[in-house]
């Protein structure tokens, strides 16, 4: 546990130094995106990595936060309220949709998450109070009270704080009863049930926490981007990005999502910047190829492979 805390502390220090020293808007933008995706990946990792239910609809929880922020701001409320409001809605949504679907196995669950996300997407697109397909443009009003800043620095600091919080929560998860139960359920649900682990109950708890984390990321995203609409928040494409980040880094590992987000941002965004725009597909080619290679050769992901190697070495010396 201690090395993880030290690593997290080091990341926070480096992040803060970067905010203080770097004034390049493009770099700060990449840093913010990286942290946001790391949070989303970790949120996904709770239900899909530790609990083993691969979700392809996780963006709906991200959307909860983004839309909560948009609604708060457009109704004259403080966007800080959106953290609580978005979390409540996201957790409720996780409980309502998770209750029937979390017991589904494998692809049945995965396709159910796609179906649920598509239904919510359709619901948003026909709801006038949710801005229909047009979404919301948030008025510009910088200041801490409005959770809005003229510079990118404070956003990065907030994202860093959220990332640290989520990593701490996950360190806690790995050592908690919930964490052990989830991994037991993932390894063998029948064996876990036979020793009295209530699958639905523990997975619902994990799902709700996972939704709350994604929602917090959504609030930050809305305040950063100042524009919220279905394609940028709840679309299937966003859900897939989140899932792939979790997979590349290594599902069910503490640092997997952060590593996955790093690979995603450096490769996908870096390539898109270098070869002119994301519309050309080069980012997809590289990213898709990496996922294929990992799935075929190293299905435990980057971090999972490293962890395995360390365990083997320790096992050999002990």
């Amino acid at each position: 546990m201690r090395p993880h805390l030290l690593a997290l502390g080091a990341i926070v220090v480096v992040g803060l130094l970067a905010v203080a020293g770097v004034h390049d808007a493009v770099l700060l933008d990449l840093l913010f995106t990286l942290l946001l995706y790391a949070v989303l990946g970790q949120s996904w990792n709770w239900i899909s990595g530790y609990a083993g239910n691969i979700s392809f609809g996780h963006a709906i929880f991200f959307g909860c936060g983004a839309y909560a922020a948009a609604l708060c701001v457009t109704h004259g409320l403080s966007p800080w309220l959106a953290f609580g409001l978005g979390a409540l809605v996201a957790a409720a949504l996780a409980l309502v949709t998770g209750f029937p679907t979390l017991a589904l196995r494998g692809h049945y669950f995965s396709i159910a998450t796609i179906a649920v996300a598509a239904l919510i997407d359709a619901f948003v697109r026909v709801s006038p109070w949710l801005g229909k397909a047009n979404g919301f443009e948030l008025p510009i009003a910088p200041g801490w009270a409005n959770l809005q800043f003229a510079q990118k620095g404070p956003y990065v600091v907030l994202a860093l704080a959220l990332f640290a919080l989520v990593q701490l929560a996950t360190i806690g998860l790995e050592r908690s009863r919930l964490g052990y139960y989830l991994r037991a359920l993932r390894a063998n649900h029948a064996a876990a049930a036979s020793v009295g682990i209530d699958e639905r109950r523990w997975k619902l708890i994990a799902f709700a926490w996972s939704a709350v984390m994604a929602s917090a990321a959504g609030v930050l995203y809305a305040q950063y981007n100042l524009f919220v609409d279905p394609p940028s928040t709840i679309a299937l494409a966003i859900s897939i990005d989140i899932a792939l980040i979790g997979v590349v880094g290594g599902i069910g590992t503490l640092w997997g999502p952060a590593v996955g987000a790093l690979v995603y941002v450096v490769l996908a965004k870096g390539v898109a910047l270098k070869f002119g725009g994301a519309g050309k597909g080069y980012d997809l080619v590289i990213y898709g190829a990496i996922i294929c290679l990992i799935a075929a050769l190293r299905p435990r992901g980057i971090v999972g492979t490293v962890v395995d190697a360390i365990r083997r070495r320790r096992g050999a010396t002990a």
Partner: protein
């Protein structure tokens, strides 16, 4: 009277739409049935087939003549993908096939975008563009041709799996991989063949769909999404189930689009999926 005509018209459109869905879904269900893999890149195979059909159309080979060519090309492509890639996924943990085929989806979409750009492309002067009028109903010739193609394809695939030696071997592998190996069946060969045939089905589908749809890098994705629902409704692995599920989904989509709103046409489809997987997880015609 008018309401009745509308209803009959919707019924006809729903059935024909459903047959188009069946065209895409049969290949998916075959692969699932034999090797327990949901190929998330199935729609991207369809997209490749549509580009191939478009290429043939540009050199003057029409969709019906081009159909077997595209199907053979996709069959070979499927076998290569199985040998190089899917075989390795099967050796890994169960989730490897889910995200591995998802990675393939991203890769193929990216390649299509890089090579063909994101433009919508249609076949030049496709045949069967007229409308058939019958007893007050109007249906496009293209969808009728696609529907007939779907019925032939489903029947052919069903007959193959039921009555040929290779088909029997496929069913044996589907039932019990280890027992099949012990009976002297080369599981890798059968898996490869099934994956190739699944791709060939989508090859035939792509050639037919170019009659009435444009192709673009994500053209296959929406068809595939519907196909997942179709296959789940009918029962994963069941070929007859895919046909029944497809007709149901076609009907739900057309009626939903008419009576709700075109934006909401997928809502009854996804609701139906959720209801079926929750109440009857094996699907309408599937076995547990």
């Amino acid at each position: 009277m008018e309401a009745l005509t509308t209803f009959a018209q919707l019924l006809a459109s729903g059935l024909l739409t459903g047959l188009v869905f069946a065209l895409v879904a049969v290949g998916l269900t075959l692969v699932y049935g034999v090797m327990d893999v949901v190929n998330f890149a199935h729609g991207e195979f369809l997209m490749l087939a549509m580009y191939a059909a478009l290429g043939l159309a540009l050199v003057g080979i029409g969709p019906l003549l081009g159909l077997p060519l595209v199907a053979i090309a996709l069959f070979l492509f499927g076998i290569v993908v199985y040998r190089l890639f899917v075989r390795r996924l099967l050796a890994g943990p169960p989730e490897a096939t889910v995200f591995g085929t998802f990675g393939l989806l991203v890769l193929l979409q990216g390649i299509a975008q890089a090579v063909f750009s994101s433009d919508f492309l249609s076949a030049p002067r496709p045949p069967f563009q007229g409308t058939i009028r019958f007893a007050g109903l109007a249906v496009s010739q293209a969808t009728v041709v696609e529907g007939i193609g779907a019925l032939l394809l489903t029947a052919g695939l069903y007959a193959f799996v039921e009555y040929t030696e290779t088909g029997r071997a496929m069913r044996a592998v589907a039932e019990d991989r280890i027992a099949a190996t012990l009976m002297g069946i080369d599981v890798q060969r059968i898996n490869g063949l099934a994956f190739g045939m699944g791709a060939a089905c989508v090859g035939a589908a792509g050639a037919l769909l170019m009659l009435s749809y444009p192709v673009y890098p994500t053209a296959g994705a929406s068809f595939a999404l519907t196909a997942f629902v179709v296959v789940a409704l009918g029962g994963f692995g069941s070929i007859q189930g895919a046909l029944v599920g497809a007709l149901l989904v076609g009907m739900l989509e057309v009626f939903g689009g008419y009576y709700l709103s075109p934006e909401l046409k997928m809502v009854p489809v996804f609701l139906a999926y959720l209801v079926v997987v929750l109440l009857r997880p094996q699907g309408l015609l599937g076995r547990r």
